[in-house]
Amino acid sequence: MKPIVKWGLVALGIAAVGAGTGLSFMAGSPKDALQMVRYALPYMHVGNLKVGSAAPDVTLVALDGESKFQLRDRIGGKPLVLVFGSFT
């Protein structure tokens, strides 16, 4: 094996261990780090919206599970604070 390939693989290995250690530290444990990579990272996005972007209209469901409303119908008279989240 050529030295450059060998050292490239070593560097890659060190980077992988470093990334794994960093993720484990951030997530709390190696198991949490694996679950974070599997379940969280695919869903975390920066998104395209910026200050000044038009707020996308979306359809939302009310707590009764049946009524629906449009986000655009809540926009107008006053600023609207949107709080996105979940229970868990």
Binding site: G28, D32, Q35, M36, R38, Y39, A40, Y43, M44, H45, V46, G47, N48, L49, K50, V51, G52, S53, A54, A55, P56, V58, T59, L60, V61, A62, L63, D64, G65, F69, L71, R72, R74, I75, G76, G77, K78, P79, L80, V81, L82, V83, F84, G85, S86, F87, T88
Partner: protein, 136 residues
């Protein structure tokens, strides 16, 4: 909730409930376990399941903020890159006036408070009364 109580007369609030962040069948947090916060739910596969969890949440905390649930196509989540949690302010013309960072580390309600305070003034709360000193 303090933010909502302080500024609800000036601005509207809307909570949008999105896909679960730490369900038991994905990346469950230890703090969610029974005996601790007791927030143990599987990732909803149907709208009814998502609605049920949303209702559990609002009832447990007597949550007063107006509420909307993202349907199972996750359209709101995708449009606003919301997952797992994020704050926005939409101005009266329907444009983004503030876009907060992704939770948990960049989720910062203080930034929303600062934006609101800059426009409507700071809401001060009375300091809790100090207990009298006991001198021997």
């Amino acid at each position: 909730m303090k933010l909502y109580d302080d500024y609800k007369d000036h601005v509207d609030f809307l909570t949008i409930y999105v896909r679960e962040a730490h369900p038991i069948d994905e990346w469950q947090m230890k703090s969610n376990e029974k005996g601790k916060d007791d927030v143990c739910y599987a990732q909803p596969k149907t709208l009814a399941q998502r609605v049920a969890i949303a209702n559990d949440f609002t009832q447990r905390f007597k949550y007063p903020v107006p509420f909307g649930i993202d349907p199972m196509n996750n359209a709101a989540n995708d449009a606003y890159a919301a997952w797992p949690e994020r704050l926005y302010i939409i101005d009266e013309q329907g444009h983004v006036a503030y876009k907060g960072g992704n939770g948990p580390f960049k989720y910062n309600p203080k930034e929303v408070r600062d934006w609101l305070a800059a426009r409507y003034g700071q809401v001060k709360h009375a300091e809790p009364a100090a207990s009298p000193d006991k001198k021997s």
